[in-house]
Every structure is written in structure tokens, then in C-alpha cells.
Symmetry: C2
Subunit: 192 residues, 2 copies
């Protein structure tokens, strides 16, 4: 846009110049025209240099504008990523709490008081899981599924009859996803 | 800087111009100088307009640069604030878990199995509190402290002998801070 404008102006100046030289030449002859021309040339040089400077300034402006746009886009993406996984650090620290809950809830009992305490713990466990789910945390399914190295970590391999090969036959420790990110793979036993 | 340069150039042009007019005037008289002057004037007008355009472009560049700087600063502050309280939403959802833990752990028992289960729960509770503390969560102190409406919410007022006035005599529900932010005030009974 700016370049087009500059080119048009240069043409206008060039046309003016030619017309003027002819007029003076017709009236006063050769020698005097030299004086006039050198003054005009100086002014024209000045114009050319100003136009070059203008173009450079315009380009500098456009470059800064592009940098600005990029920086804004990058900042937005950084912010969104930070928001998406905002609670990851706390969630990672809460995984041992989930593990211990699962272990503690495995108790078998006939005692009434212990039973009622276990019920209370189950309720707390559920509240905790719900809060985590709301933030985007989901347990990874593994038992009976095909082994997937993206989600499962094989800590033991067996050859058992009655199971298809490459199937998870036992889960030692639950894995968890935060949205699309694995924050801990499931530790599993795989049938070969 | 750019303005200073422009002014110098204008002076140089003006000097050139005067010298030239005189020379032509001496040699060819009045009428012909008019032709030369109007051509020069046109070039000078052009120069003045280019210089004005240059100055405007320079100012536009400086304004954009200032906008860029502001936008960058704002983005950094937004990001830092988002990071500082990043886990607040999850933490708020975990407060009922903490409340229920405190209630459940208040059980008194002689049964060995219940005792061992309670010990397990205490361990889980401590792990949970440690994870929250690492993220910047602290319980608000209230019992025996002077009532402070910034941290305490008075749900009951009493007049008891043996206590100073405006002192928290009982805490009904724990309050919590996330760094410098109260995410839940402590619910308390105050002595008037």
C-alpha cells in the first residue's frame, strides 16, 4: 500500500521536472539551465532520500506490528495451557492420598464401629474423587484392556493360559489422566 | 532525534534555495525567476509534506511500541496471578474433604481394628494437609484469638465470664487461606 503511493509520487515529480526543464531551455538556452538543474537535482535527491526513509519506517512499523501480534498470540496460548493444567502440581501430590485410600478401604470387618468408620471413609474418598473429576482427573482403565504403553507401565510379564496375549491381567497401582495428559501411568501385569 | 534531523535538513534546503534565486535573478531579471521559483516551491512543498509524514510515522511507531510494552507487562501480570491462585478451584472443592476428615477422626474406640483404621486415616489426612500446604494452603487460627472480621465469621455471640471481650471462644468450622487470600473464613463463637 505504502510502496504503491511512493511510486506514484516519484512519477509525479519526474513529470514536473521534465516539463520545467524544457520550458527554461526554450527561453534561456543551455548554460543557465545547468544552474537550475543542479538545485532541482538536490531537492529531488532529498525527496528520494525522504521517500526511502519513509518506506523503511513503514517496514519497521509493519515488522513491529507482526511481532506484537505474535507475542499476543503466544501469551494467550501460554495462559490457556497454564489454565488447562493449572492444578497438576497439587494433583500429583494428591495421588498418594488416593492410593492410601484404596488400600485402607480394603479392610474386611465384622465390628460395627469399624464398619461405620469405613463407610465414613468411603464417603470422603468419593468426595475427593468428585472434586478431582471436576478438575479433569480420571483414572486410567487397565484391567482386561489391551496393553497400551501410552497409558500402562508393564512391571511384570506372565504367560497365562486363558488370556489373550498383550492383555493387562492385573493392576498394581492405578494410573491417572489430567484431561489429555497422563500424570501417572497404571502399573500393570501383562500377559505375553 | 528524528525531529532534530528534519530541522537541519530544512535549513540546508532553504539556504540552497536562496542562493539559487539570487543567481538567476541577477542574470535574467524578474519574470523568469517566477517560473523557477514555482517549480522549486513545489519540490519544497513535497519535501515538507514528506517530512511531516515521516514524523507522523515515527510517532505512530513509538505509540505502537508503547502499546506493545504495556500488553507484554499486562500479560505477565495476568499469568503470574493465574499461577499464584492456580489451584484455588480444586482447593475449594477439597474443603468438605478436610471437614469430614476432622469429624471422622473424632471417634473414640477400644476396638483394635478401629484404632488401626483410625491411624491409617490420620496418615491420609496428614498427607492431604501436606500436599495442600505445599500449594500454599494454611488453616486460619481462631480459638482464643481476637476476633478479626477479615478471617473469622461470627455465627454466635455470647457473654461469658472469664474471657476477654471480642475473643473467639469456640471454632465451629475451620477456615483456610490460600497464600494471602481467604478462601473460607473460620466460623466462630465470639465473646462480647
Amino acid at each position: 500500500m505504502a510502496e504503491e503511493k511512493n511510486t506514484l509520487n516519484e512519477e509525479a515529480v519526474a513529470t514536473n521536472d521534465t516539463e520545467q526543464e524544457e520550458t527554461i531551455e526554450e527561453v534561456f538556452g543551455e548554460a543557465e539551465v545547468v544552474v537550475e538543474t543542479s538545485a532541482t537535482e538536490e531537492l529531488e535527491k532529498k525527496i528520494a532520500s525522504l521517500e526511502a526513509e519513509l518506506e523503511e519506517k513503514e517496514n519497521r512499523y509493519l515488522r513491529l506490528q507482526a511481532d506484537f501480534e505474535n507475542s499476543r498470540r503466544r501469551a494467550r496460548l501460554d495462559y490457556e495451557a497454564a489454565q488447562k493444567y493449572r492444578a497438576q502440581s497439587l494433583i500429583s501430590d494428591l495421588l498418594p492420598v488416593l492410593d492410601n485410600f484404596e488400600r485402607a478401604l480394603n479392610v474386611e470387618t465384622d465390628n460395627e464401629q469399624t464398619k461405620s468408620l469405613l463407610q465414613g471413609m468411603e464417603m470422603i474418598h468419593r468426595t475427593l474423587l468428585d472434586a478431582l473429576k471436576k478438575e479433569g482427573v480420571e483414572p486410567i482403565e487397565s484391567q482386561g484392556k489391551e496393553f497400551d504403553p501410552n497409558f500402562h507401565q508393564a512391571v511384570m510379564q506372565v504367560e497365562e493360559e486363558g488370556f489373550d496375549s498383550n492383555i493387562v491381567v492385573e493392576e498394581f497401582q492405578k494410573g491417572y489422566l489430567l484431561k489429555d495428559r497422563v500424570i501417572r501411568p497404571a502399573m500393570v501385569k501383562v500377559n505375553q
